[in-house]
Symmetry: C2
Subunit: 248 residues, 2 copies
Amino acid sequence: MRYVLKIAYDGAEFAGWQCQKNAITVQETLETALYTAFSQRIKTTASGRTDAGVHAAGQTCHFDAELPVPPEKMPDCLNRLLPAPVRVIEGWAANETFDCNRSAKRKTYRYRLYVSPREMPLLERYAVRIENAPCLETLQTQARLLEGEHDYKAFCASGSAVKTTVRTVYEVRVKEREEYGVRVVEVFVTGNGFLYNMVRTMVGELLDLALEKRTADSLLTAYATGDRSLLGKTMPAKGLTLMQVEYE
Amino acid sequence: MRYVLKIAYDGAEFAGWQCQKNAITVQETLETALYTAFSQRIKTTASGRTDAGVHAAGQTCHFDAELPVPPEKMPDCLNRLLPAPVRVIEGWAANETFDCNRSAKRKTYRYRLYVSPREMPLLERYAVRIENAPCLETLQTQARLLEGEHDYKAFCASGSAVKTTVRTVYEVRVKEREEYGVRVVEVFVTGNGFLYNMVRTMVGELLDLALEKRTADSLLTAYATGDRSLLGKTMPAKGLTLMQVEYE
């Protein structure tokens, strides 16, 4: 039987999703809980990796196993074995053709910023401070330039091995609210898939465009040439949260 | 010269505001930074204590000293010496009649709840999970019963030594938004002063009233008699944040 789990985690505590040597990852933590519960070595496949420090509200993963617990009971079963920063939110069954990674149609990430001359301890854990931010309308206007089907090679950290760097970004939505007397700006990015570091570089570029540090022309050249140096900086991991993975 | 500081902190890391033996407190942390900066033992007076685990976005404190740094430069001066969970947000000068505790006219606390059958790792740090919550309108209606001038003795943890337990609660405002697919309910309580544990007991009572576990009659009896057993439970510290202290 193929089990699918929806998982949330506080990425601050982990060296990302994927198992690695000498570092504690979410995947390893989850697989350890599965082993504790069922005495079976179960290998999980996620919708995609998340980097060290990146959070998730709706990561998904699947695995095949014959277990005495039905999928919908997996949250109760596993959460008592998981450390507090990781929780299974939902569980369901899927057929063999379903694959959390390959069947994903849309993913949505959120990047959270706050605008303040000083660090705010109650925002620091899940948001990144910036000193200057353009107004919401300017951010929303510039966000349009990051939407569409493009070759996002320039947005991708070097060293990733992927077949194609073309992706479609369906929407870059910018919202704003006030908290603790400061502006909290949230950028929601929805696409059919994302390269390594892509969202964090998109947000850096969005800020540069909106602050007129860079132009639409240089962005178009970056799409055309794949030249990373034409883009803004890669923003820190802690502002990023994988919100949702959608399937058909 | 009398210095006044506005301070924010993540209470998860501290045994409350006030100095105590064998535990790290915010006051001690701040006074250590002052000592490091100025080689003087400076004693600070806050608007009031916050308990272990309670957060602050706008705590205030004052102290008297002759220092080579003007008040408005104190944030920059102290923040580089403070650990990340504590930050000085503002500094200003006051005259000798100003006292952060005795001059306070209004204080506002926020209590944050979220409604979910499961723990959400990205909400757990600053909010308390409840399984059942009444609708916003019911909470707002019942909140009216907690406003006004009352003897809040029944809301006060035993062992506090205060002259009077009469306080005026100007407003109990309930707001709601959605985050990560769950309801986040925020209760803002503004009053002329608060007893030990008072806001946390008010929120427990508000939930009981709104869920019809307790009645307005029992609340009125609690005001009249000071009987703690007539009220709902004291909610956990981590949901509480001291938002603002107002002076004339």
